[in-house]
Amino acid sequence: MRLKFHIVSLAILYLLLTGTYVTAQNVLVSGVVKGVGSDETLIGVNVLLKGTSIGTSTGFDGDFEIEVPPDGILIFSYIGFQTAEIAIANRSIVNVVLEFEASQLDEVIVVGYGTTKKRDLTGSVSSIRAEDIQAVPVLSADQALQGRAAGVVVQETSGEPGAGTSIRIRGTSSISAGNEPLYVIDGIPMLAQASDISSGAAQGPRLNPLSTINPNDIASIEVLKDASAAAIYGARAANGVILITTKRGKAGQTTVNFNFYQGWQNVRNPYTLLDASQYAHFVNEANYYAGNGRVYDDPSKFGKGTDWQSEIFRTAPMSNYELSFTGGSENIQYAISGAYYQQDGVIKGSDFTRYNFRANLDGKVHPRITLSNSMMFSHTKSNKILTDDNAAFDGGIVTAALSFNPMLSTRDENGNLILKNYAVDNDGNPIDGTQLDDEGNVIPESTLNTFANPLLKIYDSSSESKISRIIDNFSITFNILDGLDLKASLGVDFSTSRSDQFTPSTSRPAGDSFASSGSNSTFALLNEYTLSYNREWDKHRISAVGGFSAQKTSVSALFVNAIDFSTDQFGYYNYATARGADVITNYPDFTFLSWLGRVNYALLDKYLFTFTGRADGSSKFGENNKWGFFPSGSVAWRVSQEDFMSDVNWLGDLKVRMSYGIVGNESIGPYLSQALLVPVDISLDNNLTIGFEPFLFPNSDLRWESTRQFNVGVDGSVLDGRFGFTMDFYIKSTFDLLLTTDVPFYTGFSSVFSNVGDLENRGFEFTLRSYNLVRDLKWNTDFNISFNQNEITSLAGRDNIPNSGGLFGIESWALLKEGEPVGKFYGLVTDGIFQIGDDPESVPRFQASPPLTPGDRKFKDLNGDGVIDDSDRAFIGNAQPDFSFGFINNFSYKGFDLSIFIQGVVGNDIVNFNKFLIERENTTSNITLDYFANRWTPQNPTNEYPKVNADPAIIRRYISDAEVEDGSYVRIKTITIGYRPPANFLKKVKLADARIYFTAKNAITFTKYSGYDPEVSHFGQSATNMGADLGGFPNTSSFILGINVGF
């Protein structure tokens, strides 16, 4: 709360300093506002005198009256229509016809080192405005992009508050150098690699760097998609560029806004697992097929038992408070805001808190000198819960909850949490190594698996992560002469993070406590000089920008971990009590130097040309390849401006675009080209000493990945702008792919990093915006759809490259292969179930497996050699979708508004690794009711699910199509109902604006996927390991109630 008081007092100070007074002799001006192409008058249009806060709105007949100076300018703005600026020019009657927004040719688009009008655009750019970003209450800007822009596929990889998303602009164009776009916030290219920002010392996924920025501070997001648009960012542009522009103050309009919402989240679709008595049945039957005796004589006496999922999940609240001030005088403008966001995770013990502060100031200190400063500060704090599975180490909380024995109570009779996943005896007591048999000997402990009680993680393991970040960009613009500006800017992105994590001895299978702590400080300095020139004469219009940019990033990281603390009491607060604390320090730095230039030329407002080039030098690459040049060119033809089109009245605007260029991808860590030597500890005669060994394969030719991109597009609008559309077709060919490929261990290394391979993305995007109803009942529709096809065109002679994301000891479950897309799953093909009467000798089986018995699963012997092994694997799924779409319908009637946002991804598959736990025939884990109810039995000779068996003969090391599921989904991403009280009521209560709303997010999802949520990626943003689901923090559905108030 204290923060908000500071904001208020600062704002008041600014108001006092910058208040403006209108002193000219005023006249009364009146008029009527209509919508284009009809006689319909528009009610409630905002009418404002430019540069002041003097304004009114139109009445029931679209009429208005206002007292203003005769030489003033009136601004007319209305939702769904373009804003118009009309000079009064000594008139007393000003009638206005507003154009539909869909054809907003004069809309200003941010394009990197400058802006352009939409009409002049030759490249492919999607623009998302503030009201669309704010339409969905989200934690970070990347989430707001979901379903909003054609060609931009956003996936929430985890439901953990503050977790990262995975964004693919026009497909997967890199295999291992990263596929995330470059984010540029107010001119500063962001360090978006989580590793640059957070220390990652706490276990679990790292936080999303963009979660440090309040999405409501954003004025617009532009997505630069093709090479023409993106090439101004050269070696970092191959995955597209996302430009984020924050709100700035405007002269005269003083607005104060307060926003608040409160929401509740729930796990969308928990698994239905066996309860205690069902599980006891399962154990009995599995032991029967294993040739053992009955374990439980009366399974039904165990009742429901413990539902471990409901023990760890909860309904989690979240809330958001924001206060913002914008305004200013002719010379100084400000936009200041503060926000507080708090969200609990649906897994108990997890939360996320964020404090934001932003101050954007612009000042004209001299008629030709403008100073600008954009400053953002944020502090985030989160408590994390280890959700990833790592069975060999601790086990994740979700996998543990899924696999835990429902017959087991969460606590023992003394009220202490049960430690492990114990089996229980016939009396329901855990077999935990404390019981004696008749002869007084200890009955050996019996556990289902090595997982620790998931509740131990909630109640005993603490894991905290904090990040503070300041982003500031200061610039001076010298207007050297009309049309020629020199801009010098200095930007800083500074962050510090600290993560701590402790796992007590009780919650580790080996009984040794573990702690890790890390701190990371990142300082990035950006210095840029640009010269820009704009001129118009006769039939020509030219704008050009050129400049120099340098960015240096220095990271200092300190990481400590230790095991076996002498007491669990201190947690991570006292490393002196541990045995063998390991300290790791790291001081990477990297530098980026660039020369850049762009020329736009328009002839007769019909023929448009853009040429862009950027030369980038990066310290990260091999000494032979430090500099690269990235050129692009594009042309556009505004067909609708031609004389021969002047009779085509239904066509508002038509533009054809074509572009070609090369952009790069340099998102790799520093020093990868060098054969660095690292220290290793060795023992000699009970003393430690050190040695040095190389740990990277050297590669002095290491260079960026390059992408050639060809794009053709058409923009148009018809029926007076009532329908606007954009479509694009593109081919992106990426070469010099940076790949970490496994090398045989006999080389002394496990992998090498080098430029090998090519891949290609081809796609089609279509966007439509239409105003279906424009009278009292308004209805407009946004629709976008994008298709992308991905293909690996060369692996530089390698037959294939298996992935290495081993889970449960399963190897190479996805495979890169020429002619196939990235993300193809590779595994065995099931062949039904071995039935009674089948001939055991004729059915192929694993080499080490005994002959099959009825109820065993069969696999196809694809190579026909009579044995099932790794050479019987085939492609059994694709992690990449065929297409994705967003479909938004906004309705409003009087003060009510309704927005329905449907979003979908179609054609992708998911490997549900959870099935290796909960659809497993043996009793080392709980299983799903679906499996148990439909398992093979002599009475149910199904071909879907094998019989249960406590002692399966074989450990399967490959995935099969039994674990691959269709991941397509269509979901009602949000439904929002809002109400805005009438203007006269607001006036009465002295409010400028007010709105209350209710939003349901992810409320309804149509999918065949059986897991928690089809939006999932166990390996986060990884391209080679995409499409895996295991444990993880489930995505949620939520309900939000909010209010916005403007003063």
């Binding site: 040794d512 604390a581 290793v680 005669d685 394969f697 002394g748």
Partner: protein, 506 residues
């Protein structure tokens, strides 16, 4: 236009504010981005080959690194080096000596039941760690000759890494048969398609490496160097290589040479061999060094965690257990039986914990009461091994056991009669035996002496009785010969290099 520009100029250049702002920007810029070296990487927290392999101290650090991946394997993806845990566990599991514990760990179970496949992590880890060690030895062997330093020390360093390389290839060739033979540092990707080198050729390289080591290595070290490879280690390994090759006259010659040095002795009591204080004692010819030290995590040995019973109130997990066949094979008065196995334990609070037989020989209860880690070294070569090799070789070279052969084996048996200062009336000296009965007596002696010391599978394969012994000890297991005389080439390697053939049967 020009007029405007002029007037503007005068304004701007007289504006102190803007001038200082512009200057300020430029200065900051220049401070941080002097273009010349801006793109050159100078990592602050790591060495590069350009600034390493120059001094005698660099040479020592390069040699030390090769030892790391035999023991702790600090930077290994799989945690632990060759002899950290997988090696001796594999030798026990894939034999009549050991079986998988209650953890039901799939890789352990596979080896126990002889169902191991090419993806078994134990064999893959041993392969990886052996080759990592070889690659580090190769770097040292190629870089050290050019370092300007004391020649004697240089030769000793080279001797150490030749010994290590020979030893690693010896492990590989015995476990996997034909293996890729690499003797120079890895510098490019041309290695990705090489084929397996015939075992005969690998053995020639092993002998050559050990012979270099034999010549240049010292008998003993002092101070901080204790634990490094010695002349004795090279000679004893030569004997072991020759034994594997059944070149018995060479085995006899090499073991006799080592016995003749007179610097190695058996400890008086078998129990003392495994006391941490005797880690580099007179019986130890070469050991993988582990440290019981507050700063050590992976540098401690894992015997106790793996072998002691889960039922103990300690950090012990029964990963692998001895078979009853091994437990019952001993004369119960044999000192080695009670040192090697325990079936009950008296806890501090007076309770007695009972359990199936577990391996207790590595637990030095006084030095390491918590058993959570261990300072015990892994004994790659003990003096009793040389005595038994000598006895076996003399029996093979001659028509039967000679007196020297009896003396050598009886020295080992005599020690087994000694317990806590008392000489027991058991294990009489061997005498009057045929060639075959003596041979089998020595084999049995090897079993009693080296339980869980990484020898059993090798011995059974060499003695051509893997199938009969294992099937006797584990009735549910079927052993395929010759398939199980080798382990499979790791699948990972074959995925990347299809030119690597697989061993028959896998």
């Amino acid at each position: 236009m020009t007029l405007k520009l002029k007037s503007y100029r005068s304004k701007v250049y007289t504006s102190r504010l803007s001038r200082s702002l512009l200057l300020g920007c430029l200065v900051i810029s220049l401070l941080h981005f002097t273009c010349k070296d801006a793109l050159v990487e100078n990592p602050k927290s790591a060495l590069t080959p350009g600034n390493f392999y120059i001094t005698a101290s660099d040479a020592q650090l390069a040699v030390n690194a090769a030892y790391d991946h035999m023991g702790a394997g600090t930077n290994n993806s799989d945690f632990g080096g060759v002899y950290f845990n997988t090696y001796y566990s594999l030798q026990a599991l894939a034999s009549d000596n050991g079986k998988a514990g209650p953890q039901n760990e799939p890789n352990t179970v596979q080896l126990d039941l002889f169902r191991h496949d090419p993806s078994n992590t134990f064999t893959t880890d041993i392969w990886e760690d052996c080759y990592k060690t070889i690659s580090l030895a190769n770097i040292a062997i190629s870089k050290i000759p050019d370092i300007d330093m004391d020649e004697q020390l240089k030769n000793r360093f080279l001797g150490e890494v030749h010994f290590i390389r020979g030893m690693m290839y010896f492990e590989l060739v015995r476990l996997f048969g034909d293996v890729p033979l690499l003797i120079t540092p890895t510098e490019d990707l041309s290695l990705l398609t090489i084929e397996r080198t015939p075992a005969d050729e690998v053995y020639l390289r092993i002998l050559a490496d050990l012979e270099i080591a034999e010549v240049v290595l010292p008998f003993q070290y002092s101070g901080a160097d204790i634990g490094r490879a010695t002349k004795g280690a090279a000679i004893a390994y030569l004997a072991r290589v020759y034994m594997t090759l059944e070149n018995w006259s060479q085995v006899a010659e090499k073991s006799s040479e080592l016995i003749g040095f007179g610097i190695y002795n058996l400890m008086e009591d078998y129990a003392d061999v495994f006391k941490i204080v005797n880690n580099n004692g007179p019986e130890v010819i070469f050991a993988t060094q582990f440290t019981l030290n507050n700063n050590a995590i992976w540098e401690t040995s894992q015997f106790n965690v793996r072998t002691l019973p889960l039922a103990l109130n300690r950090n012990s997990l029964s990963w692998e257990l001895p078979t009853l066949d091994a437990y019952n094979a001993f004369d119960i008065m044999d000192r080695r039986w009670e040192v090697t196995f325990q079936t009950s334990f008296l806890e501090d609070d007076g309770t007695i914990v009972n359990f199936d037989p577990h391996i207790f020989k590595y637990w030095d209860q006084e030095a390491e009461p918590s058993a959570s880690s261990g300072g015990n070294d892994f004994f790659n070569m003990r003096y009793s091994d040389v005595l038994l090799m000598y006895a076996e070789a003399l029996n093979e070279v001659n028509a039967g056991p000679t007196q020297e052969a009896y003396d050598a084996v009886n020295e080992v048996r005599r020690r087994a009669r000694f317990a806590d200062g008392v000489v027991r009336n058991t294990l009489p000296d061997l005498e009057g035996m045929t060639k075959q009965s003596f041979r089998e007596a020595v084999w049995l002696e090897r079993r009693f002496e080296f339980v869980w010391e990484g020898q059993r599978w090798f011995d059974l394969v060499r003695q051509e009785r893997l199938k009969s012994r294992v099937e006797d000890a584990k009735e549910e297991v079927t052993v395929d010969i010759p398939k199980h005389n080798l382990f499979p080439i790791p699948q990972r390697e074959r995925n990347i290099n299809p030119n690597l053939t697989q061993n028959p049967g896998y």
